[in-house]
Amino acid sequence: MDGVSIAGRGAPASRPARLLARLRVLLAPLPWLAPALLLIGAVVLWPVVEMVRTSFLAISSSGATLGGAGTRNYKDLFDEPDLGAVLLRTLLWVVGIVVITTVLSLALGQLLNARFPGRRVVRWAVIVPWAASVLMTALIWRWMLDNDSGVVNRLLLDLGLVDEPVNWLAHPGQAMAWMMAVAVFVTLPFTSFVILAGLQSIPPEVYEAARVDGASGWTTYLRITLPLLRPALLIGTIINCINVFNNFPIIWSMTQGGPQHATDTSTTFTYKIAFFDQHVGESAAMAVVNFALVLFMVALYLRAARRSGATS
């Protein structure tokens, strides 16, 4: 319609037609992509913008907006004496959990891929921590680790491994180790299934060839299986990084990041700034910093994915 009317005004006939054709090409994907774009744009991106905006606002302790704050929220945030330690701990938290999970999952995936009686039941059992909500799993672990009535202490006492109950979650070092163990526990199912899937996508002929060449079990694994698992490992790693980074329930329900900030990661720290310190704007600034970190991880992933694409 528009094209016709423009043409009617005496413009070269071919140009609007070409424009229209180009527009058509440009818009062709839209019917297919629109629902996804709409949903992502409206429900995911919009709150992100909102959050960034909040980080530049002065918000009173009641939650009321008082006006612009410039960069004061960020200044306050970077003045937090605990910020550096919290960020370092977050790094340890993410890298530690993802690396340990991946290593364990490689073994677990191999096991789940092997043939033995009852394999299906074992697979179902491995699923359970994924199916259970992380909050509930964290709560039962806290329950088991309780120094007075927890079953872990009871067991260790009965086995004679400790002389008196240990208050596991009260000491930052031990608490951190336990929480990371719980995080590994809930991350293992998904990861080992990804690796299991990867293992099953390797054609048997490849192993056949290796056997003919007389390669030993380990050599086969290192030279053939592991490289072929690379795509599965990549997908598992990136999803795990995100989930582990964003994990709030484990730390919150087991130690609340305490004593003081000794077991905080950036997500619990963000929460505490808003709800203990009553500083909503600074909390938003911390959330923005979190997002920057996430984007950094994405960039790393993209680089890794490209490299993996180039080698395969």
Binding site: V134, S149, V298, G309
Partner: protein, 274 residues
């Protein structure tokens, strides 16, 4: 090592692994079966001295669990459906066609995957207010669908990309049409990817907590995840109910999982195919 020994060893290790993963939930069950006065006894007992089976029936009257269960199912089912409806066309089109903005679209999908609703709750709530959707299941469905959509697009994109174009072309030339070819050939072949998307979204929506907590107001629009923690407050603690309900909430997901496990394994690597 003979073959038989090898299998026995594998089975032994396998069963130990199963036990390890189930142990916390067995403890959850044992705790859920203790009478309230036994819960905090120290040192704790391994098994209840009195098996309080009634805890599992009492929870149904202590809280409107049927309603919560129904809400959880509706939200998880609804968001899974909506996610699929939006993700399928986008993933299919971007897997089959080169177009301007394809790269940007895929990066957008990758990046938005990283965002968790936890940090965005205020914005999400403001949005619900604007759309007049506070205290509705629709809001929960929209949010869960949107936040899981990127992962599903990603997985399905990889899944579709791995289906040989020739297979689809053949069906297309047989006169089934583009959509027919998609439905009859491509989709069945990519079933593992679809199942993965379904399971991932369903589990995520089933366990979502923060958004539901903020958006849901009425008791009959609260999912299980929001209802469960109410058993433990500052003024009283019913841990046995909390754990009993948690176990009840796990069951539907495990059943779903057992049903589709076979497909899932094929689907989980789909996203990595470039």
């Amino acid at each position: 090592m003979t073959r038989r020994w090898r299998v026995a060893l594998l089975a032994g290790v396998g069963w130990l692994v199963a036990l390890f993963f189930l142990a916390p939930y067995v403890e959850m069950l044992l705790t859920a079966l203790k009478p309230e006065h036994e819960l905090t006894r120290s040192p704790g007992g391994y098994v209840p001295s009195h098996w309080q089976w009634s805890n599992f029936t009492d929870v149904w009257t202590a809280a409107p669990l049927w309603t919560n269960l129904r809400v959880s199912l509706t939200v998880a089912g609804g968001s899974t459906l909506l996610t699929l409806l939006c993700a399928l066309p986008a993933a299919y089109y971007s897997a089959r066609n080169r177009f301007r903005g394809r790269g940007a679209f895929l990066v957008l999908v990758l990046v938005t995957q990283m965002f968790a609703p936890t940090a965005l709750v205020v914005g999400v709530y403001r949005e619900a207010v604007m759309l007049n959707l506070t205290d509705t299941l629709e809001a929960l469905i929209l949010v869960n669908a949107a936040f899981n959509l990127p992962f599903c697009v990603w997985i399905l994109h990889g899944s579709f990309s791995s289906v040989p174009r020739e297979l689809e072309e053949a069906a297309f030339l047989d006169g089934t049409g583009r959509i027919g070819a998609l439905l009859r050939v491509t989709l069945p072949v990519s079933m593992p990817g679809v199942v993965t998307a379904v399971v991932y979204t369903f589990i995520a929506a089933w366990n979502e907590y923060i958004v539901a907590l903020t958006v849901s107001v009425s008791d009959n629009r609260k999912p299980l995840t929001v209802a469960i923690p109410s058993f433990v407050t500052q003024y009283q603690e019913h841990w046995q109910y909390l754990f009993a309900t948690s176990l009840i909430a796990i069951i539907p997901v495990v059943v779903l999982f057992a049903l589709v496990e076979r497909y899932l394994i094929g689907g989980l690597t789909a996203g990595s195919v470039k």
